[in-house]
Symmetry: C2
Subunit: 562 residues, 2 copies
């Protein structure tokens, strides 16, 4: 493709786009002037009062975008989400996009953002990728205020008899900072606090981020914050935020952040960008409030969930949709030729070379995810997200596979062509919604036992033979049952690269066992995190971080951000 | 005073005030629509482009508000600053207020804010006291990103040969968190970083905050950030941000924060609230950019500096005004009957009882600060900030003292009456500006030796007999001279409660020596911090923090913030 050599970069496209004032975008959505709180000219928060005003309005149809197991480079799920939203508008539908907000840490570390790409981006990308409207900073502050309240309580006499060896609440920063993974705090003598082992996570791994994204309103947020278990006392009984009496203060710190953020795409389609929990230690979806608000503002809501369908979609469908009462109408499964070839055994350095055989071998991964979505009873469309290295032979092989099995499929070129490049996908999605037999239901009942719930996820979603529990995990299950935590949903923390818990097992592994090493109860969020393998909750920076190329030009514009 | 029993609280007055839209406030100042970046309906950032547009416009006159040595409860300097701005407008002057933004840590800890009080407040006080427009979060993030870059550099081979025992860059949080004062980071084995002793300060103590407040524009900010000394290498040579190559990234993280924030007072007077460095470890004034912008937007700028005249005003006049090229026109010295009685020997519990003798004994403290302002060659007015417990006898005694010495004095009742209560003060200030013989000059030449500069401050401003330097400080002076840091200005870190370095010596101590224990070079800010006594750079929380009473009501309004 000769034209590809002249292709513009994401930031060039972003900076060339003449944005509309955010008031104009809001007006097109019939948001009242007093409901809009502008943050500069191109970003705004929307008052939660809007939800009361539009209470009786029917909800828009939710379309979930997920993907096969991704490669380390990502498969362009955000780009397809934005592109599909733009495409639906091009064919006359009132569509709105709902996405997660990015974390600053990875932005400073490794080149690459979370705002889509090419002509399917949300803008202003510099702002969204930096401080945006401060939501993550508010969450960081609430998280760390809670940590300070805990250590302060202990310092001033420890009335709650907290066991300082059993404090489970960690501090956070919205940065990649490996030196903070394991620390000792409270050093320096009696007036400086009580020494203890501690550690920092990245902000998006905070339970407060998960709670923030599952809360249905400010009062629900407060109720959930109150339930957070921060430590165990000397009798090994849980100590909560309610015991410390600071749920009101934490809610106060989060009250403005809880309002969804409105921005626009390159084609001026409206997008709500709000909340961004990890998809392993947490559920990986934007806020419930943003999705529900989008349902009031549009007839179609295009939203995404983190990583592949085994993580993000499973959690969207088993946790977020279930508890928020959101009924999804269709699922888009993004696949790329590159990732399928990788699942078929091609090493990273050879992904640009045509290899139809490997592609065919990798199709098993796609097929497993399709079966998962079918198990949830949902109609779906496979979206082939075209990359410049894809050949016609490869694309035809993928299409032939889908047609052979009767899987709806559409080639999308939304990076290069914006909404225009996603019209086929948009039409197939609408068709799937209309024709599809939607029998959506979560895969497990929360009243089942903890092992049974996990087994269902592992067997139906991952294709595992069985689940094993470590001695520690077994002991925790007993303890959780005593505490009455056994009726919560399950949030699996697993590698995103494989259907199994071993990141090197690509394609569609069979005959494998999932090992649950440990649980992390997120009682405020309402789920038990089941940890398999090592889960990174504080990333590190590479030797040459992306920050080295960042700067500001003489007009105050961002340089080197992407 | 019978009416006083029915007095409203600060938050009641704040929440009863019908605010104007920030666009309206901006319009009255002739700020162009494209120069205003609203943050919600009542806060906005102002583009630095405005400074270019108004380059040729003559500068407004700067009035500095300072005070005698404060009591732990504060003397209402912010209230007088706001009240004076309102009063000047009441008598037809185009006045604008420039103040610091508060830190969240103390807000969550001890009841009491930094937004003035009564009918002389800046609003919306809830927002300003919580996250405001995110400036402090941006500074926290830039500070901690730099810390992560340092540890990451060491982890990946330590090309700069940083001595991990001599890293002087600390992490920060905008919270009171004593457990973070002394920590060990980098634990957990080789892949988690390099273990070392470390500690956290509160954000307002970060050198980045001081730099932020002294920078004249974005490029100056970057130049200053590049000069920050973060560590010493194994040859004991300084390692800077420029050596790490991340000044561009840090500038990018601060580019939006650097725009001043516009808000309004209870009486709709415009106020720029921007930056808030400590007044001991740093220079304690709002940003140079905000003060200079205020000078372009108004004919009179009322601004304040932290703590008493021995700290904030000294630094405003020797550091900020000198390097920013700001010529102050007059100084208001706030005195309260309560504080003067305390300086006269009355214990805290008896301050509400009339005691003219003690008041007279305490006047020495006021007199010393007056002499300091006279030494700077500036006209001044003493403002008696009236409290409900003050008696007529006490006020008359203070007035008589001022009249006897020919000191201009005005009683202000701006808490209770707003601008109306400050008209006498406003008129006296205008008179002082017109009649006063203004020979303003800094007290020392930066080319003098480090001990000479410190001696001048200690002798002229504190009334000290002499200055002693610890062995460590002497060694540092030698070293700094080798590094070429001896021509910088001096930032004294001293207790705010006494003119001496001993907080228990109230009134006007004589025959005392100041001991400089150690220096902390702030090369990016452009000063050497001289530490006397212990300086707290990370406060702790009280046993029952104010946060326990904070909440959000069913309409999302703040409860218990003040």
């Amino acid at each position: 493709m000769a034209t590809m050599t002249k292709m513009k970069t994401d930031i060039e496209i972003a900076q060339e786009t003449k944005l509309k004032r955010i008031q104009e975008i809001a007006k097109e959505l019939d948001i009242l002037e007093e409901e809009l709180e502008p943050y500069g000219h191109y970003k705004a928060k929307i008052s939660l009062d809007l939800m009361k005003r539009l209470e009786a309005k029917p909800d828009g149809k939710v379309i979930l975008v997920t993907s096969i197991n991704p490669t380390p480079a990502g498969e362009g799920k955000s780009t397809v989400t934005v592109g599909l939203g733009q495409a639906l508008r091009k064919i006359g539908k009132k569509a709105i996009i709902a996405m997660r907000e990015p974390s600053l840490g990875p932005t400073m570390g490794i080149k690459g953002g979370a705002t889509g790409g090419g002509y399917s981006q949300v803008l202003p990308m510099e702002d969204i990728n930096l401080h945006f409207t401060g939501d993550l900073h508010a969450i960081t502050t609430a998280n760390n205020a809670l940590a300070a309240f805990i250590d302060n309580h202990i310092h001033h006499g420890n009335e709650l008899r907290i066991d300082t060896r059993r404090i489970v609440w960690k501090r956070v920063v919205d940065l990649n900072d490996r030196a903070l993974r394991h620390v000792v705090v409270g050093l320096g003598g009696p007036v400086q606090g009580v020494p203890r082992e501690d550690g920092f996570d990245i902000t998006v791994a905070s339970e407060i981020m998960a709670i923030f994204c599952l809360a249905t309103d400010l009062q629900d947020l407060k109720r959930r914050l109150a339930k957070i278990v921060v430590a165990y006392n000397v009798d090994k009984q849980p100590v909560t935020v309610a015991d410390l009496g600071v749920e009101g203060a934490l809610t106060l710190l989060l009250k403005d952040a809880l309002k969804p953020n409105l921005v626009q795409t390159v084609e001026h389609a409206p997008a709500l960008i709000h909340g961004g929990p990890f998809a392993n230690i947490a559920h990986g979806c934007n806020s419930v409030i943003a999705t529900k608000m989008a349902q009031k503002l549009g007839d179609y809501v295009v939203t995404e969930a983190g990583f592949g369908a085994d993580l993000g979609a499973e959690k969207f469908l088993n946790i977020k949709a279930r508890f928020a009462g959101i009924k999804p109408e269709a699922v888009v499964i993004v696949a790329t030729i590159r990732a399928l070839k990788m699942h078929g055994g091609v090493p990273k350095q050879e992904l640009h070379i045509e290899n139809v055989e490997a592609l065919r071998a990798g199709l098993d991964n796609l097929r497993k995810h399709i079966e998962t979505i079918q198990a949830f009873g949902l109609p779906f469309v496979v979206a082939i997200n075209r990359f410049i290295t894809d050949t016609e032979n490869e694309i035809n092989a993928l299409k032939a596979f889908c047609e052979e099995h009767g899987y709806p499929v559409a080639l999308t070129e939304v990076w290069e062509k914006g909404g225009e490049g996603g019209i086929e996908l948009a039409e197939k999605v609408l068709e799937a919604i209309e024709n599809g037999n939607n029998t959506y239901a979560p895969l497990y009942d929360v009243n089942e036992s903890i092992p049974d719930k996990i087994r269902k996820i592992a067997q139906i979603v991952y294709g595992a033979k069985d689940v094993e529990f470590s001695e520690k995990a077994k002991k925790q299950i007993e303890q959780f049952t005593v505490f009455g935590w056994d009726k919560l949903s399950i949030c699996m923390a697993k590698t995103q690269y494989s259907l199994s818990d071993d990141p090197t097992k690509l394609g569609r592994p069979t005959d494998f066992t999932i090992t649950v090493r440990e649980f992390k109860p997120s009682i405020g969020a309402g789920f038990l995190v089941a940890l398999t393998g090592d889960v990174m909750t504080m990333p590190g920076l590479p030797k040459k971080p992306a920050a080295l190329h960042m700067d500001v030009d003489e007009n105050g514009n961002a340089i080197g951000l992407f």
